[in-house]
């Protein structure tokens, strides 16, 4: 099974012929991702990387049966790209673009939801299901197939967690980078629900950050609905209040959103807390082998 993307995905790339889009499309195809074409308005009818280019997402859906989209469009045009994908009936939209204004994202969030689509990102590394599909920019070589679902607000820290798991002989069912922006399409809770329902996922590693209340929200879900073990690291235990740590969403404001609060909420909800970011893999390993 896995979640969000797998071998039955028919992926279209928005911003296909640009520099970023081209580079990552090649990498995704090399991994064996079912990439059926791309969209670059005005270049419809051309071929790029041996795949058809369409003017619109709707064309890609009609001609190639595209059912997932990944977006590499520059920030001023990215919100429009997400809306176009949702309107065309795409149900899994993964937006890599960093730097989209919040004002653009507010209506996007509502519209995508009204269309029943799942949006991952923006400002995220994408989704990777080992052995099946790599959608986005995650480095493929650190992944291995297995039972651990990974969900994270950050990019390279996701890779760190995945790498530690792989070194412990623990493969991943899917890894999802949900992004570090204030408004994101899928939150922890949305991805946890998918992992809870996925037969191939036996445990989940969740990597949070300071700022916002998404981790606290996830804690409630874990307490009430999650039967699978969840292992949690929160980055930013040493971050001072009021300072934005890179990600627009990573800021402790008004005394809210500290790592300490988040760890406490998650521990109380029954999650396994990992305070040392170098010990994620071995903590999962020791718990799973005992169980």
């Amino acid at each position: 099974m896995a979640i969000l993307v797998d071998k039955n995905t028919r992926l279209v790339v928005q911003g296909f012929t640009g520099k970023e889009g081209s580079f990552h499309s090649e990498q995704m195809m090399e991994y064996g991702t079912p990439l059926v074409g791309g969209v670059t308005p005005g270049k419809g009818g051309q071929s790029h990387l041996k795949r058809p280019v369409f003017d619109t997402v709707a064309d890609a859906v009609r001609e190639e049966g595209a059912n997932a989209s990944v977006i590499f469009v520059p920030p001023p045009f990215a919100a429009d790209a997400v809306l176009e994908a949702a309107e065309a009936g795409i149900k899994t939209i993964i937006c890599i673009t960093e730097g989209i204004p919040v004002r653009d994202m507010i209506p996007v969030y509502q519209y995508v939801k009204s269309k029943g689509a799942a949006l991952v990102g923006p400002n995220c590394p994408g989704v990777l299901t080992p052995g099946q599909a790599k959608v986005g920019i995650m480095p493929a070589m650190i992944f291995s197939e297995g039972p651990v679902g990974v969900v994270s607000r950050s990019g390279t820290l996701t890779y760190e967690a995945v790498d530690q798991l792989t070194r412990q002989g623990l493969g991943q069912s899917t890894a999802v980078g949900i992004g570090g922006d204030p408004i994101i399409g899928s939150r922890f809770i949305d991805v946890l629900k998918l992992y809870q329902a996925d037969d191939e996922t036996e445990a989940v590693v969740m990597i949070g950050e300071i700022g916002g209340t998404a981790e606290e929200e996830a804690a409630e879900y874990i307490r009430d609905h999650m039967s699978k073990p969840v292992f949690v690291f929160i980055a930013g235990q040493t971050a001072p209040p009021g300072r934005r740590m890179g990600h627009a969403g990573a800021i402790i404001s008004g005394g809210k959103g500290t790592a300490e609060d988040k760890f406490a909420a998650l521990e109380e909800a029954g999650a396994v807390i990992v305070k040392n970011p170098a010990a994620i893999g071995e903590t999962v390993k020791s718990h799973l082998s005992v169980a």
């Binding site: 920030p75 001023p76 989209i100 204004p101 919040v102 004002r103 994202m105 507010i106 209506p107 969030y109 509502q110 590394p125 920019i137 995650m138 480095p139 070589m141 650190i142 994270s152 607000r153 950050s154 990019g155 390279t156 820290l157 996701t158 890779y159 760190e160 790498d163 530690q164 570090g180 204030p182 408004i183 950050e209 300071i210 916002g212 209340t213 998404a214 929200e217 690291f233 980055a235 930013g236 235990q237 040493t238 971050a239 009021g242 300072r243 934005r244 740590m245 890179g246 990600h247 627009a248 969403g249 990573a250 404001s253 008004g254 005394g255 305070k275 040392n276 970011p277 170098a278 010990a279």
Partner: protein
């Protein structure tokens, strides 16, 4: 991006938000001329001299003074300009005051709070209002949350008149002042939306003895990601208010935040950078900074990163932590060798490379002749930081 109070008031006035009259000045002479022009315009002979720095809590630090004559304005402006103003929001050393706002003193009948920001839980804009004016909204939220009125803006229909009326009624406005309050709320929201603010906060919002509804103070933060479509607002940036090292870092496309510790760090990715700060603490050190080099860890950015970290005299060791995804570790290693040579690195340097071509990268560093400790695993790097601090 933060802007000064006087800049925020200029932005708001353009949208029809009623703001206290004021003129900005950078010298005592200018301050007196500002007071004279206000006197001509409004007839006032009572002025408020307000320090213009980005941090809040200026009144508590002595940055806001009442002046009763032109001579008094000169005296107060002279005292405030150039002072190192310390507030709960500045560092312990304070922030230098480079300009003052000379404002018309207002007869205050009542004070309120009005603020607009993003509600991250709901992914909607929220307008918050409270009768507890002049108090920090976080404090009100903690101690008496029932005193905060909220209206959420539906992204499809936008802010509606009935919502603004509900807020104004809730604050107890009546008659003519009620109409002015409704207009104020609608105008503030329009300014928030159209300027791409991340915060627009009026604290206090006042009802004057004359029955006017006025912004006495105004705080606006702008969404950095939207500045590309607001060239005029982007120019309001005051780099004097920012840490010079952070400004320098931004010029090199590095994301740097200075902290108070003893171990510098340079990392690719914000989440991993925070995790690296955390592991420095676990290793017995304190992080001296947050530094995200992003996706482009090349010799030039690594060198810039080293230079910035080394300007902090508290730094006793440096940890470079790169997880190569798209970035290749061998290229980063070459960058580190080149940069370390150029900056004449004398501190213990620990470099942890993982991911694409990590072993090749480690070999380049090990064979470079550079005084550098290398690591592949995150924990190894932490242990080496610990022994560097102890040794």
């Amino acid at each position: 991006m933060k802007v000064h109070e006087y800049q925020a008031k200029d932005i708001l006035a353009k949208y029809g938000v009623a703001v206290q009259r004021g003129v900005v000045a950078t010298t005592a002479d200018e301050a007196v001329r500002a007071a004279e022009s206000l006197n001509k315009e409004t007839g006032t002979d009572l002025f408020v001299v307000k320090a213009q720095i980005h941090a809040g809590g200026r009144g508590k630090g002595g940055g806001v003074k009442l002046a009763k004559s032109f001579d008094d304005v000169r005296e107060k402006a002279d005292a405030i300009l150039g002072m190192m103003l310390k507030t709960p929001q500045t560092g312990p050393e304070g922030q230098k005051v480079r300009s003052v706002l000379i404002a018309d003193a207002v007869d205050i009948a009542k004070e309120f709070y009005l603020g607009i920001t993003l509600d991250r839980g709901r992914n909607q804009t929220v307008i918050m209002a409270s009768t507890e004016g002049g108090v920090e909204i976080e404090t009100v939220a903690e101690e008496s949350p029932e005193l905060i009125l909220k209206e959420w803006v539906d992204p499809v229909i936008g802010l509606q008149g009935f919502q603004a009326r509900r807020l104004a009624f809730g604050l107890g406005f009546e008659g003519d002042a009620f109409k002015k309050a409704v207009r104020f709320i609608l105008a503030l929201h329009r300014a928030y939306e159209e300027s791409d603010c991340s915060i627009a906060e009026i604290n206090p919002l006042t009802l004057t003895e004359q029955g006017d509804v006025l912004a006495i103070d105004a705080k606006i933060n702008l969404d950095d990601n939207a500045l590309y479509r607001h060239k005029d607002l982007a120019q309001l940036r005051d780099v004097n208010e920012e840490d010079p090292l952070e400004v320098e870092a931004a010029e090199h496309h590095l994301n740097y935040v200075k902290l108070d510790g003893n171990v510098g760090c340079m990392v690719n990715g914000a989440g991993l950078a925070m995790a690296t700060m955390d592991i420095i603490k676990l290793a017995g050190g304190e992080p001296a900074n947050f530094l995200d080099v992003g996706g482009g860890a090349n010799p030039a950015t690594v060198e810039a990163g080293f230079r910035i970290i080394l300007k902090d005299p508290e730094v006793k060791a440096i940890l470079v932590n790169i997880f190569g995804g798209i970035v290749r570790c061998d290229r980063v290693a070459k960058g580190v060798v080149e940069a370390a040579g150029k900056v004449d690195m004398k501190l213990p340097l620990i470099v942890r490379l993982q991911g694409t071509n990590a072993e090749e990268g480690k070999a380049i560093l090990d064979e470079s002749g550079l005084e550098v400790q290398t690591a592949i695993l995150f924990q190894e790097a932490a242990d080496k930081v610990q022994s560097a601090l102890e040794g």
